[in-house]
Subunit: 142 residues, 2 copies
DNA sequence: CTAGTTGCAAAAGATTTGCAGACGT
DNA sequence: ACGTCTGCAAATCTTTTGCAACTAG
């Protein structure tokens, strides 16, 4: 599967083992959002040779290259100081984080997007970027 | 103005000099959003005796008490790792950060709020909290 | 061959914590 | 007086950087 190789080349990055590993991991992980440390541990326990510093460096390069997006969620207790990364598949979307399970759900809403543009415009600005995260909890029937 | 004193008491906190100073500063600052370090520096240069650790401790207590809100904005370059705090005046609002000037603008939009609730509900969740930040730039006229 | 990469260890930056002394009530 | 605070310094934690060895093209 040389697909990842060309993604890297296109980004102007040499095709190295660590980069391929990280890219592959991000593509295959079911949770889709991982911290640098989770990536590091995951690769290590998979028997790979890699340094944590390399993981950070590669993620930054990937982010600059637009291969990956970085998020700063605040976990349940408000005690997260750790960034997490997800593959950038192109389509923008926002996030919902379940406070009970930590599960991250993606969503996209045309209405909200539009309204945001309008609000910015009303203030004389244009949106460069935006981040919407909803911290939620399952509705308990009762 | 004993107003601040009772706010502290109500929060179950002793009325001490550092706490009063920080509360007052947050009430009076025009920018409304300050980092722990900015607060520390501001008080120090105002001739106050205070430790940075105390600023952090007090802000955390204020946050738990609901007197203050903590935000993790990402400044222009994406290079912010510093939290900033604002007085919690009760009314919820979202933020727009100007990438050129760093200015923080607050706004509230009923439509977006409603839509968020709906989306969460559609997924079987209820919103505990949410954070919407738009990183914007002044519209440049041709 | 040569510039880009890597791993390690050390550095940095933000925030937290242990502790002895000081202070509010 | 008592338990709560405070300031300082040291500790933590995440992320970055210096450097010498290594590797892709």
């Amino acid at each position: 599967m040389p697909e990842e190789r060309s993604e890297l080349r296109k980004a102007g990055l040499k095709v190295t083992h660590p980069r391929l590993q990280i890219l592959k991991l991000l593509e295959e992980t079911p949770q889709k959002h991982m911290t640098a440390d989770e990536i590091y541990r995951s690769l290590m326990s998979g028997g790979e040779e890699i340094g944590l510093a390399t993981v950070y460096r590669v993620l930054n390069q990937f982010e600059s290259a637009g291969l990956v997006r970085k998020h700063l969620f605040t976990d349940a207790g408000g005690t997260s100081t750790q960034a997490c990364y997800e593959l950038d598949e192109g389509g923008h979307h926002d996030h919902m984080v379940c406070e009970d399970t930590g599960k991250v759900i993606e969503f996209y809403d045309e209405q909200i997007e539009k309204r945001q543009e309008e609000i910015a415009r009303e203030h004389g600005y244009e949106i460069v970027n935006h981040s919407l995260v909803m911290y939620v909890r399952p509705i308990k029937k009762a």
